[in-house]
Symmetry: C2
Subunit: 195 residues, 2 copies
């Protein structure tokens, strides 16, 4: 997605060879016009699937999923990372390791909001090692729901998540795939090279 790549080149900053900061437009401050174009693009890429709900994970995925859901005209469910008093006791859950936070955390979805009738599109901001996506897929399996695809705004092409999902024959769409950052330089892998 050219508009996204230009935005990453213009505003993204790198920390070392593996961290890309895009918090000026994607996951702290949010460029809502860009987010609408991202939502349209996900819809264009997944429109041949029958999708009943979009599933994401708090917190950064919520904006992406919510605006994309306008174009799909479906509800969003966001998986919760922290036990809260207000979460149902009956949940599907999986345990996910975060390399960013260097800790495991539980991901939970109330059993009331996923069922075997659901056809799910998973959306998130980043796809790196794939742990969050695999955790959500485990939750879908528990619910008996059908996974229709996974969409990531930015895939780190040098980490294993993309390859794992493609090897599982999952329809994965990443709107920008970045290479490892050499000397702080951001470069992209074309999607047709990876599928």
């Amino acid at each position: 997605m050219e508009l996204l790549k230009q935005k990453i080149l213009k505003e993204g900053t790198t920390v070392g060879p593996e961290i890309l900061k895009v918090d000026s437009f994607l996951n702290h401050q949010i460029d809502i016009r860009l987010m609408q174009e991202i939502g349209k693009e996900f819809h264009r890429r997944f429109k041949d699937h029958k999708i009943t709900k979009i599933l994401t994970i708090e917190a950064s995925g919520i904006s992406i999923a919510s605006i994309a859901a306008i174009y799909f005209d479906v509800p969003v469910v966001f998986a919760k990372k922290v036990q809260s008093k207000n979460l149902d006791a009956e949940t599907y859950k999986s345990s996910v390791y975060s390399f960013t936070k260097e800790a495991y955390y539980d991901v939970k979805v109330s059993k009331r909001y996923l069922s075997s009738d659901d056809h799910i599109l998973i959306l998130d901001d980043f796809l790196a090692n794939g742990r969050a996506a695999l955790g959500l897929i485990e939750i879908l399996d528990q619910a008996g729901a059908t996974l229709e695809g996974v969409g990531a705004v930015i895939e780190k092409g040098f980490q294993e998540g993309g390859q794992i999902l493609r090897d599982m024959n999952i329809h994965l769409e990443s709107l920008a795939i970045v290479n490892r950052f050499e000397d702080g330089k951001i470069t992209f892998i074309e999607q047709n090279q990876t599928r």
Copy 2:
């Protein structure tokens, strides 16, 4: 907002006299059509203000702020609750007590995304004791930004947050104001009774 009140009556459930669960449409599963009507309503109520950014707090506020921001055509900034490797070192911050989680947590916004030029609308799902809103207002003060108003989807009329903000002469708009739940029954306070 009548559509919202009907939805609360239809799908909201109460736990004791003070907890209202609306996770079927507002803060776990999200009814995106309703969220668009909520966004339009906030825009209608605040359209006479010059607003440059919408500020909210992760996680439940992100969907509301993001979809409302489409109608205001401004960016969103969401305050973060947890220290992350990817958050700037230079942040505005405040400490907020959560009655739901029974703990204090730090709320942080990168100094790059709020400035004295900003005119801010704060949006969130619930207004109860007002601690989260007051924490965000403290952050605005640190940034020298101007607070234009606060919008809550649901205000708990029996808790002090609404009164505190109105006493500060803040333009507060709550789309539904609920009374304390007697015998599990949900009733509303009309807004013109509170202002």
